[in-house]
Symmetry: C2
Subunit: 186 residues, 2 copies
DNA sequence: ACCTGAACACCGTTCAAGT
DNA sequence: ACCTGAACACCGTTCAAGT
């Protein structure tokens, strides 16, 4: 049966999940699908477009935030949930950052962030800016942890990964943001 | 005369500044230096090590913060200065993020950030965590703006770059952080 | 409509051999 | 000590030609 765009994207996500961005090449993907490399370009314009599609799949899998908690707590909750979801996929931070450059704010988790930032007390005029700050904190935290793991594979004379202290550091940052929000309310 | 490690790094920085990360290949660098690709590997272990060296050069060029301003203002000042310095070099955010994974907190501008975060009222126990938050905000902001410019080259049917609104958004984020810091003081 | 074969113009890295 | 030549195992993308 004929190859489909869906199939290409799904297999790409699978490859990313299993081996990381370094092994997600158009040629490797074609091999995985039992097809010549050129065939992919009938379904997808180029690799960048494919990666945006991959990022959309990853973001769509992030659970929606519960609605029964106070706003500040809920905001930290989604931020942590997004962070943990991305941490599970190798190089997810890089892939999502690229997608975010192409279509900023279009993914659902971003819109969740913006809404909760507003509920947590931000002025309407600052909603998107603060949501972006939270997003940068998430992506930066995930990228740092994932890149550190990647570097440690090659260069094993570095400080231990210490994932729990990364999580702690992330929450300290979120607490500062939440406090800054509440203070800004008028 | 023989090639030196310094020369390799300096030429790499030059290539990055002029053409971006996409044209900073070991082979292109060797050509620029009038040498065979293999020669580079006598001076540098691999490309990753070279990029860390390149990042160190970029960070070393960032001016030191003035000491005559109130701490909160000085903190925002360095953050803006680091952001502007990195914005001038294509793909600087990616390069610095990689270096940060290898040697977190070793570069001088990072230490400046941590010191000013402390002066601005953070508990000593939260100093590095908040400095990291500021760093993520800087790198995220720079990466978003630079990747957006890069994408616009290929895909010219997107919203205009709007660099000034990026700068505004960055300062809104810094204001939230600074407020969150002051509130946390005891 | 969908895919293959083959090419084009590249990569990072290694390593025997030269000077 | 420092570098070349040549190779190894790859890339992303294009495009005539096939079915």
């Amino acid at each position: 049966m004929a190859l489909s765009r869906q199939q290409v994207v799904t297999t790409a996500v699978d490859l990313l999940r299993r081996y990381g961005l370094g092994d997600l090449s158009m040629r490797r993907l074609a091999r995985e699908l039992g097809v010549a490399p050129g065939a992919l370009y009938w379904h997808v314009a180029n690799k960048q477009e494919l990666l945006v599609e991959v990022a959309d799949v990853l973001l769509a899998e992030i659970p929606e935030p519960p609605t029964d908690r106070p706003p500040a707590e809920a905001l930290t909750g989604v931020a942590v949930a997004i962070r943990e979801a991305l941490l599970r996929v190798p190089d997810a931070a890089d892939v999502v950052a690229l997608a975010y450059a192409v279509e900023p704010g279009s993914a659902r988790p971003f819109r969740d962030l913006a809404r909760l930032v507003h509920d947590a007390g931000a002025a309407a005029s600052e909603r998107d800016e603060v949501a972006t700050l939270v997003l940068h904190h998430i992506l930066g935290s995930v990228a740092a942890q994932q890149n550190r793991a990647l570097v440690a594979q090659v260069d094993p004379d570095l400080p231990a990964p210490a994932a729990t202290s990364d999580a702690k550091a992330f929450e300290v940052g979120m607490a500062v943001i939440v406090r800054g929000l509440a203070t800004g309310r008028d």
